[in-house]
């Protein structure tokens, strides 16, 4: 238990250290307004990392999130063009994202196909569908209505709606993971599938649920992304699935399943988000960005490996001690 607390504490300390380091050269970066902007920028990563977390907890991986986001985002923009009201668009993107997640989950659950293969396939299929829908054309800012673009940027209590949505998703996951049977099932299935079966948990059904959650969040983020950046095209969020997995990995979600926490995933996403936002401010050329985030991932996982090498980690240890 202490190990868990310390993992997140260390990551939080690393983030604070990073901020302090940046502040020595550019005090403006840690101004509240700018930190709010960085948090808003990182919101899609936080939301998707939480969805990916539950998938990884069940020993699966979802490589199709970025393609799902791009497809739903494009559909949201097209529906907007057809004059569909915003609430209906929001409902549709969440439902569509969930359906795409369900397709992944179906193959994993009913046909026992490894998730990496399924989502590798659906990733190319979903992104290809955007091309079929649009013929490769872009939807630009002037083709979107003001209401459509304004919603994620609308400021409430100093933070844009987009950031508030991330906060709400984090709170929702905290409840889901700590307080619901499904949340416990994610850990049980990933920790020991055989044992989970004998305690009456359906492994496949739980994995299916994880994919649906991940898909629904990707669908919703698709709208947020397109509305905020006011552009939709085939390659939007290209390669973002790896950022999402990387955020989980930095946050200490065990890729073998069964171990991880909401706080870890959020901190992992924030760490990556701050690195990416800080680089241009500090005056490092954007060409350094990939190498730096790659190194950050490697250092984080090497560190994780060292701290977890000592003994086995099980999330339900906390429950064990309490009992």
């Amino acid at each position: 238990m202490t190990l868990f607390k310390s993992r997140e504490a260390i990551l939080a300390a690393a983030i604070l250290g990073l901020l302090a380091l940046i502040a020595t050269r550019f005090p403006g970066f840690i101004a509240p307004g700018n930190l709010a902007r960085v948090f808003t920028d990182t919101s899609p990563l936080i939301i998707l990392a939480l969805g990916q977390m539950v998938v990884i907890l069940t020993k699966c991986i979802d490589l199709s999130v970025a393609a799902n986001l791009a497809l739903t985002g494009m559909l949201a923009a097209m529906m907007n063009g057809m004059g569909v009201p915003l609430p209906l668009i929001l409902l549709t993107v969440v439902a569509l994202g969930a359906v795409m997640g369900a397709v992944n989950g179906f193959f994993v659950w009913k046909l026992d196909i490894p998730s990496i293969v399924v989502t590798l396939g659906t990733m190319t299929i979903y992104r290809g569908l955007i091309f079929l829908l649009t013929d490769g054309k872009w939807i630009n800012a002037h083709q979107m209505t003001d209401g459509f673009k304004a919603f994620p940027r609308m400021v409430i209590l100093g933070l844009p709606v987009m950031a508030w949505i991330a906060v709400a998703v984090v709170a929702g996951f905290a409840v889901l993971v700590k307080r619901t049977a499904l949340g416990r099932a994610f850990f049980a299935v990933g920790g020991n599938p055989h044992a989970a079966v004998y305690t009456g948990i359906s492994v496949g059904r739980t994995q299916f649920a994880a994919f649906v959650i991940s898909g629904a969040l990707a669908g919703f983020t698709g709208y947020l992304w397109v509305a905020r950046y006011a552009v939709a095209y085939v390659d939007i969020a290209g390669g973002f699935e790896l950022d999402v997995v990387a955020a989980c990995v930095i946050g200490g979600i065990a890729i073998a399943g069964g171990a991880g926490s909401v706080g870890g995933a959020v901190l992992g996403a924030l760490f990556l988000g701050i690195v990416k936002n800080a680089l241009p401010v500090v005056g490092i050329s954007p060409f350094w960005q990939m190498a730096i985030s790659g190194s950050a991932i490697l250092i984080a996982i090497a560190f994780n490996a060292k701290s977890s090498a000592a003994k086995g980690r099980l999330i339900l240890k906390t429950a064990e001690h309490r009992a």
């Binding site: 991986i61 490894p114 590798l120 396939g121 091309f131 990387a246 990939m290 790659g294 996982i301 060292k306």
Partner: protein
């Protein structure tokens, strides 16, 4: 909750897939033949021998990596950084070229960079005992990132004419150098995986690494060698690709890691490790090459091809399972 049928996650050896694997190569062969005939019927230009030879460029470079990747996946590991290794190796070649290095040096540097990158992956995985999928997601950004640092938004062009032989040359009548390299490497990897102790060790590790260790196999050494091999083959692919394109950009070979993994899985290699064969990968490479080439002749855009490959990947894996289920019912 109704009592669930026990699902034994790690116990994939008795899955319908592995039972179908015996005829997997046969199934793939039929698929390849069907696509070949469909192509021939669809376009009168398809059967032209020059065309067929050029069609090989659609898969040879990826297949070179897929042979090594197949062994890595059979051993229960994966390398997602292969495309980034290509970018790095090509960039190093370009850097050396801009300093006036001769062609043999360029080739050695390309392959050497690949080996070094593979060794780096292998060291991280074996020394820290980390999951390779995580390590190579990191090195994937790192390797390509170094290319971006060196190149920025620029490019290396103007490679010496001698280098062009690898990607554009022909030996004998119409066989491209790459096609010959493909056949040669297929034979080498076939022998390595199916006819040597090393190959047996790879299967043993993929099925049960702990048991392999207790039976005297130096598990980490084999793993390290496999990463080295995959890196080296990526370097070789970088030489071919750089030669064929005649230029280096940091975005070179983007997304190839997924195509290589698709090729390996399509070839019947279990993504969970422990089973697979080189002939399967060879036929899968031919299938993928034929599909992209045939669709190219029909002017189907690249992204639609990738949809078809995605559907093919899932269908080829799902159909035997559905069939097995239908027979049981």
């Amino acid at each position: 909750m109704t009592s669930p049928t026990p699902r034994h996650i790690p116990d994939r050896l008795t899955s319908p897939l592995s039972r179908a694997l015996k005829s997997w190569e046969a199934l793939l062969c039929v698929t390849a033949l069907a696509i070949f005939i469909a192509n021939a019927l669809a376009s009168p230009y398809f059967l032209d021998p020059w065309n067929l030879s050029d069609a090989s460029f659609n898969f040879t470079e990826k297949a070179l990596i897929a042979f090594a990747m197949a062994m890595l996946i059979i051993a229960g590991e994966i390398d997602l950084s292969v495309a980034s290794i290509i970018a790095l190796a090509s960039t190093i070649m370009g850097l050396a070229m801009s300093m006036g290095a001769p062609v043999p040096v360029l080739v050695l540097l390309g392959i050497g960079t690949g080996l070094a990158a593979g060794a780096f992956n292998g060291l991280l995985v074996t020394r820290f005992n980390l999951p390779s999928i995580v390590v190579t997601i990191g090195t994937m950004s790192l390797f390509r990132g170094i290319s971006y640092i060196i190149l920025g938004d620029g490019a290396y062009t103007g490679y010496p004419a001698g280098l062009a032989w690898f990607g554009q040359g022909y030996v004998w009548w119409v066989f491209s150098v790459e096609l010959v390299l493909f056949a040669l490497m297929a034979a080498v990897f076939y022998i390595l995986l199916h006819r040597t102790n090393f190959g047996r060790a790879v299967f043993a590790i993929g099925n049960n690494a702990t048991a392999a260790r207790f039976s005297g196999i130096r598990v980490d050494r084999v793993r390290f060698t496999l990463f080295l091999l995959t890196g080296g083959m990526s370097g070789l692919a970088a030489v071919c690709l750089t030669s064929r394109l005649g230029s280096t950009r940091p975005s070179i070979a983007t997304g190839w890691e997924l195509e290589v993994v698709t090729m390996v899985v399509l070839g019947g290699v279990s993504i969970l490790g422990g089973s697979g064969s080189i002939p399967g990968v060879v036929i899968a490479a031919l299938v993928m090459g034929l599909v992209t080439f045939g669709l190219g002749l029909l002017n189907v855009p690249g992204i639609v091809m990738s949809i078809i490959l995605g559907v093919l990947l899932i269908a080829v894996i799902a159909l035997p399972r559905l069939w097995a289920r239908a027979r049981r019912a």
